[in-house]
């Protein structure tokens, strides 16, 4: 019932979008090679699907993305746990993070090549950078916001430092951390294209860049659509995970 309704919404909105696109193309205001028509794009999507390169590109990108994202998540949570717990230390690290965070990964390219070479590594590093800050900051924030009452309970039951961190602080902070993980997913996926600019020879980002360099805008649009859809699917997966956690944690909001 709900899925039928949702599919209906998706279908209608996508149709309207494609319709507008088709109309814009049909006016002939834009050179077809500069604004490919929906049919052209569908054709190149089919092409990509049929010759199997698409699957390959998606696999490669996903692998890079997951490596970057997961290592960033682990690093962000572990570091965030330490820094969130030792607020004095965080006072020193905070300014550095605040200055580094607003810098585009693109600006780091020369140094990334210098330190990490070309190919997979820079893509992973850029995704890592893009994912790391939100996870780190949300972990620090989550730990700071742990309800004092939980800490008192732990003290009362005479838990040791390790039990306190693993049994109380980490799970108590987890809803905020999970939210950070979600945000990080979105913001780092956007950097896949940038990441695959430095010497990658495959991947969805490479596909787009290569298509751009070859002036194949139909392929660029096809790549855009695949990137959008993959991002959407990733987002749906993590939303589901987050919902599960929230409902288990008894978080009531986000219900409707």
């Amino acid at each position: 019932m709900n899925i039928i309704k949702k599919s209906f919404h998706v279908l209608v909105s996508i149709s309207v979008l494609v319709g507008i696109w088709q109309i814009v193309c049909a006016t002939g205001r834009y050179e077809p090679s500069l604004l490919p028509s929906p049919m052209d794009v569908v054709r190149s999507m089919k092409e990509l699907l049929e010759d199997g390169t698409l699957i390959l590109h998606i696999q490669v990108s996903m692998t890079r993305f997951l490596i970057g994202y997961i290592t960033a998540s682990i690093a962000g949570i572990v570091l965030g746990l330490i820094l969130g717990w030792y607020q004095k230390l965080w006072a020193f690290i905070d300014p550095i993070v605040q200055v580094l965070r607003p810098i585009s990964p693109i600006a780091w390219f020369p140094f990334i090549v210098l330190w990490f070479g070309i190919g997979d590594a820079p893509a992973i590093v850029i995704i890592f950078i893009a994912a790391f800050y939100p996870v780190l900051l949300s972990t620090v924030n989550g730990i700071r916001k742990v309800d004092q009452v939980y800490l008192k309970v732990a003290q009362n039951f005479e838990m040791n430092q390790f039990q306190l961190l693993t049994k109380i602080v980490l799970p108590a902070a987890f809803p905020i951390i999970a939210n950070g993980l979600h945000m990080a997913l979105g913001s780092s996926w956007v950097f896949l294209v940038a990441g695959e600019m430095v010497g990658a020879q495959s991947g969805l980002g490479y596909l787009i860049i290569d298509a751009r360099n070859s002036l194949r805008l139909d392929l660029v649009l096809a790549g855009i659509i695949f990137i959008g859809l993959s991002g959407l699917i990733l987002d749906m997966i993590i939303k589901k995970v987050e919902k599960n956690i929230e409902s288990k944690w008894g978080v009531q909001n986000g219900s409707k």
Binding site: V149, N160, Q163, K167, I168, W249
Partner: protein, 266 residues
Amino acid sequence: MFKMDQNNESFITIEGVTKNYPRNDKTQSLALDKVDLSIKKGEFICLLGPSGCGKTTLLNLIGGFSKPTTGKILIDGELVDKPSVDRITIFQNYGLLPWRSVIKNVELGLEAKKISKEERKTIAEEYLSLVGLTDFSKHHPSELSGGMQQRVAIARALAADPDILLMDEPFGALDAMTRMGIQDEIQRIWSEKKKTIIFVTHDIEEAVFLADRIVIMTPYPGKVKSILKVPLARKRDRTSIDFLKIRDKVFSEFELKAPDCTEYYL
């Protein structure tokens, strides 16, 4: 039996306890002013008073969560200087861990002790059945009503087998009728388990229903105004003449101050 004989000795001794909180404007706020109190083993004490009279402050001091500015608190002759599993505090918002099931919450206090997994489970189940929540052991706290959550908190505290239970307005968030039910329950458990209970409330009737002695406190600065014995047999009848007489007495204790207090309360 020996313990029974000791019953007249002071178990918890509070001597000249004062607590100052620093204020932003660098003045000090006197949250507790020279409190003296002596509590016997197994007593049910209610701290009663309006908001800001230092009930929570006093309870935190006894719990060991903070230290008095002057004076000292002794339990069984030992100075209180940090929290201990021998005195468990039950907080108003229950302090249950929302990510743990009910039974896992009850087991929490046992995890810090060196007790095997199975034994933990057995103990936890025992106390869950004591508070009548055996059927809900796999639920998460968020799936329970407020009254049920408070009962889980009680089970968790009891499972750690403390000598003293400290309860800070434990039923404040419950509706009036649910409250009566759980008041019955805590008094039944107290009768059964013989714990010393210090119970914070600002509900006069609740204090009269539960306490052996009511410690009446007043604010600005927070101090003990008087201590009232409640010499009624258990289980008390909320509509009996004797009950209402004591209730009246407490009312008049407060109404003496009513004209200038009202402004503070609201």
